[in-house]
Symmetry: C2
Subunit: 249 residues, 2 copies
């Protein structure tokens, strides 16, 4: 891959779920080499100290399109720009919007630099829940009709996927995880092994393993990632483990 | 997280899909600090040169259980052991089997160190295909009955998930991708935007964007990861892009 051979490129870069340690060397190289770093205020604040000589630009949450245009304007001036997101820029991150807005800036190059997404990072904390086919579903209905989310929850539950839920809750959506669990319970046992991880890779990281019935009555916040096991998922050594398939041990 | 505070721990470590650059700093630290590195022969050969002072142990493919027991035996002697996999150790990797076999070695600690999985790494090459809910399905029926795989393909296709296929082909399963596409075509348009990525992050990395109809007649090998878009996925600037939701641009 040719990094930094041209000027005026946007590197849409995932920083991983939390700790700087969970960043890739590639993402570290991008931050080193770009003169401008753009992102959501909270993530920018996390890395600002490490790079005192960079230009940092940010916008608050929900101003994503504006943030993207900012990146293109800087890149159009000939600067290399790192557009940073937590997790993986390509999974519910900024990569898609950058490509969409990029229609207006055909002269600016775009490269996506992958990061550890919450599904991977949280799975490592819980044990090994994602060892078999899995579905990743966001419970946020900000950009998706709830009917679509419900249809996907039903399909994933019925076909015995391990399910990983992003954005399981917010102030306005306090009961969404409960609604999701109620749907899944139509297809899966209440004893299904589930897990939650909060603040992945950050200070105060915590996790919990519990049954689907218990999960239904558990309040979670927006910093939590939720895992619902498949019919073979078990608790082993205090961890959530999905066997890979036929027993071969 | 307390790394290396005790002796005799196994770090099940994902190295990312290809290039060393796609490894996390955390994985790099684990390799530095462990005295024994165990893995599948091919991956071990990729990193052996970088760490001339380590003990390297490996077994050929399909000898996974044996490889795990080797790791526990070394850790039981008081050594820190890195059990390495490509991609993410927690996604179709070795984390699950390590926990399963760990039942016989309760005194040995286990920690999973996440890596960039092929789904993330390949998505970055193609553009931004995984910006919305997605299902990850392995087409390998080595450890899973084909009926289960088929049921999951149908469910994911019907509920309009983006679908990412691991292990889409092998010598014995040359027509599996064709069979999967035929199933998905019962629910999705033949014009659905799809993508393939081969040798993610490695020499000779290549990708292709094509329709579901075309994908059905495209031979792929075991080094390829396949993406089938949802009903909104489009080709933009020569890339595969799934919009995040309602247009907000």
């Amino acid at each position: 891959m040719k990094l930094f051979m041209e000027h005026g490129k946007i590197y849409v870069t995932g920083l991983g779920p939390g700790a700087a340690e969970q960043m890739t060397f590639q993402a570290g190289n991008v931050l080193e080499k770009c003169s401008v770093i753009i992102g959501y205020t909270v993530y920018i604040d996390l890395i600002r100290e490490a790079y005192p000589d960079k230009v940092f630009l940010s916008t608050p949450m929900r101003r994503e399109a504006e943030r993207c245009r900012m990146a293109f304007e800087e890149a159009a001036k000939g600067k290399n720009v790192a557009m940073v997101c937590s997790g993986d820029a390509g999974i519910y991150g900024m990569a898609g919007l950058i490509y969409e807005i990029g229609r207006d800036y055909p002269e600016v190059g775009i490269e996506v630099v992958p990061g550890i997404t919450a599904a991977s990072g949280g799975a490592a904390v819980l044990g090994a829940p994602l060892m078999h086919d899995f579905a990743v579903i966001s419970l946020s209905d900000l950009l998706t009709p709830w009917e679509t989310i419900e249809r996907r929850l039903r399909a994933a539950a019925e076909a015995d996927f391990v399910i990983c839920l992003y954005n399981p809750s917010s102030k306005k959506r306090a009961d969404y995880l409960r609604r999701a669990c109620a749907l899944i319970l139509q297809y899966r046992s209440g004893k299904t092994v589930c897990g939650t991880v909060r603040n992945i890779g950050r200070e105060g990281e915590s996790c919990r393993i519990l049954s689907l019935e218990e999960l239904m009555d558990t309040p979670v916040d927006m910093f939590t990632t939720v895992y619902i096991g498949n019919s073979n998922t078990m608790e082993l050594r205090g961890r959530m483990v999905t066997p890979r398939g036929y027993r071969d041990v």
